[in-house]
């Protein structure tokens, strides 16, 4: 892959993971929900898209159904999960993501270990350059829609209530905010957006395999959000771009530098160091939380 195609590929990934980051920002940044099972809903969207596209269902129907199923799964998971304390919630949804991955890995309807091929909406026959540009256009339209939705929510009385629940849920509930409703809705919406990203991911790559949905995907998204700045939509997109460039950059560098450790392991070490560095020295992320702007 030439440098141009490689760069365009990075932009595609920034778009897809930008959507996942916005979804985690809605859940964690604004509502304070530690969703460490993000990959589960990403997987749900991707596999729903893959299964339906194999049946010949049109692109937009695949995407919409993927979003709806991810939202429903998110809502169902939220009912028991949101009764848990934050740390146990994190463990429960992390386990849920792995359970879902092991299910698609073992079941024939999802292609098992070999996964499934997906028919792309843009034909490969044109050229790799055009194919990537078309995907960038498509993905960034969805990214813009997600951005607007989260931005509107964040800057409304609804977003203010979510932030209040994040800060002190007992006080927020005593002031009339039904925390269960707000949290379940945030979880559902976040899952829907992650499902959308999953569908676009499957469509772009032209296949899905269980190995694409390891827990590391969730952790990468968390690094993006923490680096960019939770509760700041521009921040999390910046985080998505920086981490993606860092990830791809280290992939290139490792081919040219002799390292004493496995280059893939070094990447994980660097990711770990990065997250510790952020939490110690810049806990608010690169961009601090955006203030609520309603009408004033």
């Amino acid at each position: 892959m030439g440098p141009l195609l490689y760069s365009l590929d990075i932009i595609v990934y920034i778009g897809i993971f930008g959507i996942v980051c916005l979804s985690l920002n809605l859940e964690y940044g604004f509502a304070g929900l530690a969703n460490f099972g993000k990959v589960a809903f990403f997987l749900t969207g991707a596999y729903t898209y893959a299964i339906l596209s194999q049946l010949g269902v049109p692109f937009y129907v695949c995407i919409i159904v993927g979003v709806l199923i991810s939202a429903i799964v998110g809502l169902l998971v939220s009912f028991p999960a949101l009764r848990l304390r934050a740390d146990y919630l994190a463990i429960a949804v992390l386990a849920f993501g792995e359970i879902l991955r092991l299910i698609v890995k073992s079941e024939d309807f999802a292609g098992g270990d070999w996964g499934m091929t997906v028919s792309p909406i843009f034909p490969y026959t044109t050229s790799s350059l055009i194919y990537r540009l078309e995907n960038i256009g498509l993905i960034f339209i969805f990214l813009a829609i997600c951005f607007i939705v989260v931005q509107l929510l964040a800057n409304s009385p609804y977003g203010r209530a979510m932030r209040a629940i994040r800060e002190d849920e007992v006080a927020a509930e005593a002031l009339g905010k039904d925390r269960a409703r707000f949290k379940a809705q945030a979880f559902m919406l976040g899952s829907a957006m992650a499902g959308l990203a999953g569908g676009l991911y499957a469509q772009y790559l032209g296949y899905v395999v269980p190995g694409m949905f390891m827990p590391m995907v969730t952790f990468t998204v968390w690094i993006m959000v923490l680096l960019g700045g939770p509760a700041n939509n521009w921040g999390v997109l910046l985080g998505a771009a920086l981490v993606e460039i860092f990830d791809r950059g280290t992939n290139i560098v490792k081919d040219y530098i002799a390292l004493p450790v496995d280059p893939s392991d070094l990447q994980y070490i660097l990711f770990g160091a990065l997250i510790i560095f952020i939490l110690l020295y810049r806990p608010q992320g690169l961009l601090k939380e955006s203030m609520i702007t309603l009408i004033r």
Partner: protein, 231 residues
């Protein structure tokens, strides 16, 4: 125990530390579940209601140790408490912005008026985390007033603030009480409470031991034994 708080006016609750005053408030608000007995608000049993449902009935609390939303501005802290907001529904927040924005303008004006009463108007756009201890206390009280309660439970509203401002808060509370809001107030600053309260309950070891008008409490020698530990 059995006690009543009537419409309008200020009802006081006093007692030594650890007598169960704050626990009583938290139980009434649904934060703690009662072991037994029944709590009625406007003839409706509220034992099994969630705190947000209790708020919907008009029963609101201002916490003893302020529980503010520290990264939100002072004004946003006030607005969270506002009643029947159209914009805090998911659908409305996305698709009916013009509808709730109009309501929001009125709420902001209302919030600024209350903040003016407690002398926090100039800090409206500052994060609540930047307020001093006394200012946090004032905001906690102001937030309770913003909720337009039928009954507002105030847990030591004058604690940690200067006596002049403490008295001013009670004067404002009295003004609000004339509009039909009832106040049930825990307070250790007895000189202020007794000036404004129309009825006072004295609590000790989880029980109401004396009840009456402030003057009758002051005249009761048992009060000093319970409250101050001396004859």
């Amino acid at each position: 125990m059995s006690l009543d708080v009537n419409h309008g006016g200020i009802c006081g609750l006093v007692g030594p530390n650890g007598s169960g005053k704050t626990t009583l408030f938290n139980t009434v608000l649904g934060i703690h579940k009662p072991d037994g007995g029944e709590i009625y608000f406007n003839d409706q049993c509220i034992n099994n209601l969630a705190p947000h449902q209790i708020y919907d009935l008009g029963l609101v609390n201002a916490f003893q140790i302020p529980r503010l939303f520290y990264s939100l501005s002072v004004l946003d802290n006030m607005l969270v408490a506002a009643r029947e907001q159209q914009g805090d529904k998911l659908f409305n927040s996305l698709f009916l912005r013009s509808k709730w924005q109009k309501q929001e303008e009125g709420l902001i004006e209302e919030a600024l008026n209350i903040l003016e009463l407690v002398e926090l108007e100039h800090l409206a756009l500052s994060p609540a985390g930047e307020l001093s201890g006394g200012q946090r206390k004032l905001l906690e009280v102001a937030r309770g007033l913003m909720a337009k309660p039928r009954l507002l439970l105030l847990d030591e509203p004058a604690a940690g603030i200067n006596p002049v401002l403490g008295k001013k808060i009670f004067q404002k509370i009295e003004e609000f009480s004339h509009n039909g809001t009832a106040f049930f107030v825990i307070e250790h600053r007895l000189e202020i409470l007794f000036e404004f309260a129309s009825w006072v309950y004295v609590m000790n070891k989880g029980k109401i031991v004396i009840a009456g008008q402030p003057q009758s409490i002051i005249d009761d020698p048992a009060f000093y034994t319970i409250y101050l530990g001396e004859e």
